[in-house]
């Protein structure tokens, strides 16, 4: 018990989790936007848009996140001089958000597509019969129902994103949980198990409410047919 108190007083564990939550929320926002654009491209009548969106999803589904994060720092920043801020910490944070968003957008697109597949044929037919064009029926009829039908896979994607935010360590974000855990273990190797349990249960505590909320929302929002 003493070791836990010592660890909490010596290190700002909560701040590290806050950094991960911040990374997750920003990436969730950007990947949601990009994923929605991608899914609309994938269902559009224009074949070149379909091909590009399909290629994007296939590319990021088969690419390790770590290599993307390393690329953001060592490739995009160090060699291509892509920079968000002169402050190193801020710059690496946004590079990590960039990498996470690009990666997660592919999975958001897949989740939304599975939601679109649960929208009955009649809905689209009715929209067409009313004279709506592609953009109108997509944005007013299909996508709203698809979002409600894909709450469950989107929740799973959010949970995966929260866990993936630890990979920001590969993008030199040194204040987040996995970097802090590594640092703590280095200085206190005698209480290694307590340190691990603090972080592990931190994630369990964060993830269980997201899972329960997703279950609740997916049952509440599901379109009853």
């Amino acid at each position: 018990m003493d070791s836990f108190l010592m660890l909490f007083s010596e290190y700002d564990v909560l701040h590290a989790f806050l950094v991960n939550i911040e990374l997750t929320l920003w990436s969730a926002l950007f990947s949601m936007l990009l994923g929605t654009v991608l899914v609309m491209m994938r269902i559009s009548p224009i074949s070149s848009l379909r091909a590009v969106a399909g290629g994007y999803v296939e590319f990021f589904k088969n690419m390790p996140l770590t290599i993307i994060m390393v690329f953001m720092v060592l490739g995009a920043f160090a060699q291509l001089k892509l920079s968000f801020s002169d402050v190193f910490a801020t710059n690496f944070f946004w590079l990590a958000v960039c990498g996470l968003s690009l990666y997660t957008a592919a999975f958001v697109c897949e989740s939304l597509r599975s939601g679109i597949n649960t929208v009955p044929l009649g809905q689209a037919e009715a929209a067409r019969a009313l004279g709506l064009n592609f953009m109108q029926s997509a944005t007013q009829i299909i996508l709203p129902q698809a979002f409600r039908g894909s709450v469950a896979p989107l929740g799973n994607t959010l949970i995966a994103l929260l866990k993936n935010s630890t990979v920001a360590a590969a993008a030199s974000v040194s204040t987040e949980t996995s970097s802090l855990m590594s640092e703590m273990i280095e200085y206190h190797p005698d209480v290694i198990v307590s340190i691990f349990l603090i972080f592990a249960f931190g994630y369990v505590i964060l993830i269980i409410p997201i899972g329960m909320l997703t279950t609740y929302l997916s049952n509440k929002l599901a379109v009853r047919r």
Binding site: V52, N62, M63, I67, A124, K163, S178, V204, M212
Partner: protein, 378 residues
């Protein structure tokens, strides 16, 4: 499965009508406009590579040559790839063993075993793999184990992916038609015997395609090992890049190698279900989308239903799972029973008839809905 029967008659799309001559012309114009926009983006990226602000030309052959020549492959990429494959193969074997033990543990009649297995699986699923890796790496290093980073990578991947496999076993058993269990109980087998001899073997066959897809996840996650100094493909490409100051180029080569290996495995996983379906009564699942955390909903079944209509996009799906089943955990208890009671079980036609009126419960279903999609059940 049965969607092949409908695919031929279904129109290719429903969001937009089959375009007429005017529409086709407009689509063609937009197609060219979109292609031109993407071409401009590609050119801009190449220009940025060619002339980054106060940096050197990244398209210079002097930077690409050390990343592509034969020594780079024999000394860096191929040894790295071997380390990656070595760790992935061992991790997959270990996680299947872990998953079988704890997946079956969660289904056993013994409450204590069920609770323990459940807690282990939920814990391993919720903790990020990288934290597990760092913990095991430091621990093994302090304990003086040789190749600490290798065993840390393997063990962390076994725990995480094993818990996913455990959920696959559980959902595989949950998706079996109830007749399998009823028949084995009627033959006098105990619950455990029925589980071990009839249900789990079929669930394993059904989950094989998903296990191959999980192999892609394992292969991708071994790249995390580079953070704990495991000399996998990513780490080797970083080492090569720091020798010639061309990390961008070596990372691109490593990325292409990762992509090709993962893509080939994904294609294998897509091809497998058609072969596996012959050997099991459960639907052979492609996506290893077992619930990621405690209490979160599984989209295994939603994805499975969506996959049915792969050949008829946006067509909507006939419901094949019980309403309660979709959007909840992979196999809630009593799912099979409530599906039977509420008349959703196509393998038992008598369950779909209301005993009071003698009519089907679900005559409100649209023409050509579920019954058309599953002709063999009629």
């Amino acid at each position: 499965m049965t969607s092949k029967h409908n695919a031929a008659s279904a129109s290719s799309s429903v969001l937009f009508d089959q375009p007429g001559p005017k529409g086709r012309r407009r689509i063609m114009v937009l197609n060219w406009v979109a292609a031109a926009v993407f071409a401009v983006v590609v050119v801009l990226v190449l220009l940025r590579l060619h002339n980054p602000p106060d940096g050197e030309n990244q398209l210079d052959w002097a930077l690409w040559k050390p990343a592509l020549e034969a020594e780079a492959w024999t000394d860096f990429y191929l040894p790295g790839l071997w380390m990656t494959v070595k760790a992935s193969v061992l991790a997959v074997i270990g996680s299947v063993a872990f998953g079988l033990v704890f997946g079956i543990g969660r289904l056993l009649p013994n409450v204590a075993l069920r609770v323990i297995s459940g807690a282990v699986v939920e814990f391993c699923r919720a903790v990020p793999v990288l934290l597990l890796m760092i913990f095991f790496w430091r621990w093994f290093a302090f304990a003086g184990i040789q190749e600490a980073s290798y065993w840390a990578v393997v063990l962390a991947l076994v725990l995480y992916n094993g818990s996913v496999v455990a959920e696959l076993v559980r959902s595989g058993v949950g998706n079996l038609p109830c007749g399998q269990r009823e028949a084995s109980l009627a033959l006098g087998l105990t619950q455990t015997q029925s589980l071990m001899q009839v249900e789990v073997p079929q669930a394993i066959v059904a989950m094989l395609p998903a296990a191959v897809t999980q192999l892609v996840v394992v292969l991708k996650d071994t790249a995390l090992g580079s953070i704990i100094m495991y000399t996998d493909l990513l780490q080797e490409s970083r080492r090569l890049g720091s020798m010639y100051f061309n990390i961008l180029q070596t990372l691109v080569v490593a990325g292409v190698v990762y992509f090709i290996v993962c893509w080939l495995l994904s294609r294998l996983a897509e091809w497998l279900p058609s072969r596996m379906q012959r050997m099991t009564a459960a639907p052979a699942e492609l996506e290893p989308l077992a619930p990621i955390a405690a209490g979160d909903p599984s989209n295994v079944n939603q994805i499975a239903v969506a996959k049915e209509v792969e050949e008829r996009p946006l067509r909507g799906t006939p419901r094949q799972y019980h309403v309660h089943h979709r959007g909840t955990n992979a196999s809630i208890r009593n799912w099979r029973q409530s599906r039977y009671e509420q008349g959703y079980d196509e393998t038992h036609p008598e369950s779909q008839i209301d005993p009071r009126t003698g009519k089907r419960y679900r005559d409100e279903l649209p023409e050509g809905g579920e019954s058309a999609a599953r002709p063999e059940s009629e």
